[in-house]
């Protein structure tokens, strides 16, 4: 079974600064997919960024980038130039290639507060 761990329950950052959210996972599979989802106070789950394990290049989406360390089973999210609208819960998630139901396994989440 896969597990996903987010060791930072809460974090805060000043507007315009950079923050990194940590995520580690455990799996015996060689190919899989990792995601970061954002959940603002509106409750909607929004995909932030996606990484395929067989791709060595770290994914980037505008101000969001990941540091994917496959050997260490680490998948951190970096938010640059933080904005007030980035305030939300952030969830790291995993899908294994052998997952029959294509079901996401989530970490416990990190609550990020961006301060003006």
């Amino acid at each position: 079974a896969q597990t996903v761990t987010q060791s930072q329950p809460e974090m805060s950052v000043q507007e315009a600064e950079t923050v990194t959210l940590s995520c580690t996972y455990d799996t015996s599979e060689s190919n899989y997919y990792l995601f970061w989802y954002k959940q603002p106070p509106s409750r909607q789950m929004i995909l932030v960024i996606r990484q395929e394990a067989y791709k060595q290049q770290n994914a980037t989406e505008n101000r969001f980038s990941v540091n994917f360390q496959k050997a260490a089973k680490s998948f951190s999210l970096k938010i640059s130039d933080s904005q007030l609208g980035d305030t939300a819960m952030y969830f790291c998630a995993f899908i294994g290639n052998n997952n029959a139901g294509n079901m996401l396994t989530f970490g416990g989440g990190t609550r990020l507060m961006v301060k003006p």
Partner: protein, 113 residues
Amino acid sequence: DTAVSQTPKYLVTQMGNDKSIKCEQNLGHDTMYWYKQDSKKFLKIMFSYNNKELIINETVPNRFSPKSPDKAHLNLHINSLELGDSAVYFCASSQRTMNTEAFFGQGTRLTVV
């Protein structure tokens, strides 16, 4: 157009009642899901379903059952509601064969009193 829509957004009901939450997706995806988010924000899969198979998380009580009238809909039926069922329930969909990300509905906050 909303890609994955759930109704209702809020549901308050008494213990022992039976209730349903509806979900529809217009993305043409072949797989739909139900996730539960508890009071500590922890998200856990309940069901994965496509037209070929239903996969149930073994921890889900059999009072919960998914019903799919067609490929675009996956409703959640809950019998004999208990206080511990209070949570936010999310419907989601994805294209399973491509291992793509899941798209989520806006969630239904269920409160059992």
